[in-house]
């Protein structure tokens, strides 16, 4: 095992998130109540996804500049783990909204039709689908160098599409999702100081865990590549 301080830091920060996130006092808000603690988990998934996708696109650009296959492996694995975190963010959001947005007095279908029109959800789904298409595209090209080049270019396009789909469009349309008016969770006026103490370490902890898993997948794939060349 590559012993690194940041792996230990990740475990410590996540342990802190899981304990302090449940124990420390949070603002008492109507409708949200205790579910506001989901900020330490659900929101962190999206932060982590965004950071991993950014690392992925940086490696794609590096590949295009140097043509070293190693950067292509980096880009792919960071994107994969980014998708995993995105799906987790989506799944946790589904649970969260069914208990805060859905109105128990309405029939389920009425609540669903209101929620299904949420621009943030549609945007996030489109962004994730674009990244899934990145993998479909990759695996459909058998030639190693062409696959790397085409998918690096596509990855830049996919990253560019993240901005309209998850950052711009949801802010132009009416939505139930908070954070439309500014930067959710980063704005100094809309996040309580008590929550900041847990939220920032939580983002860092989750991101480091994502990077850890990505590096494992990268090392595995580099080994695979080696055995393919010299069997």
């Amino acid at each position: 095992m590559h012993k690194s301080w940041w792996k230990i830091l990740s475990v410590l920060l996540l342990t802190y998130t899981f304990t302090a996130g449940l124990l420390l006092d949070v603002p008492h808000l109507p409708a949200l109540q205790e579910t506001i603690r989901n900020l330490y988990f659900h929101v962190c998934m999206w932060f982590c996804m965004m950071i991993l996708f950014t690392v992925s696109v940086v490696n794609s650009v590096k590949y295009l500049r140097t043509n070293r296959i190693r950067y292509d492996i980096y880009a792919r694995q960071y994107a994969t783990v980014g998708i995993v975190f995105g799906v987790l963010g989506y799944a946790t959001g589904t649970i969260w909204m069914s208990y805060t947005w859905a109105d128990p007095n309405n029939p389920a279908a009425a609540s669903f039709s209101a929620i299904a029109r949420e621009p943030k959800l549609i945007g996030a789904a489109i962004a994730l689908l674009i990244y899934l298409a990145y993998h479909v595209l990759r695996d459909s090209i058998p030639d190693l160098d062409r696959r790397a080049r085409v998918s690096a270019v596509y990855n830049i396009f996919a990253y560019a599409m993240l901005f309209p789909t998850i950052w711009i469009l949801p802010r132009l349309l009416p939505s139930l999702h908070p954070g439309r008016e500014g930067n959710p969770a980063l704005n100094f006026s809309d996040i309580d100081n008590r929550m900041r103490v847990v939220f920032y370490p939580a983002v860092l902890g989750w991101t480091l865990l994502g990077v850890w898993i990505s590096t494992l997948k990268i090392r595995l794939n580099i080994l695979k590549e080696k055995t393919l060349i010299h069997p």
Partner: protein
């Protein structure tokens, strides 16, 4: 004892202590000062979540070790 074995034994000890907390409710009088039963039993939730986290981390650590071993072998050949 390797690091993993130490971790596993620590985890088992933790689990056992949780189980023993769960079993001593047979008496008539209700013990309320118990850490695991105060604050709406939120500590139980924390114990469950930390166990899941520990399990996942342990899994990742083992994977990391396995890959490192493979890398060493690959370096030699």
């Amino acid at each position: 004892m390797t690091g993993t074995q130490k971790l596993i034994s620590l985890l088992t000890a933790l689990l056992l202590s949780v189980v023993s907390f769960a079993q001593d409710s047979s008496g008539k009088e209700v013990e309320m000062a118990d850490q695991m039963r105060s604050n709406g039993r939120i500590y139980v939730v924390i114990a469950v979540m930390l166990t899941i986290l520990a399990g996942l981390i342990l899994y990742v650590v083992r994977l990391d070790k396995k890959i490192a071993k493979w890398e060493k072998q690959e370096g030699k050949s």
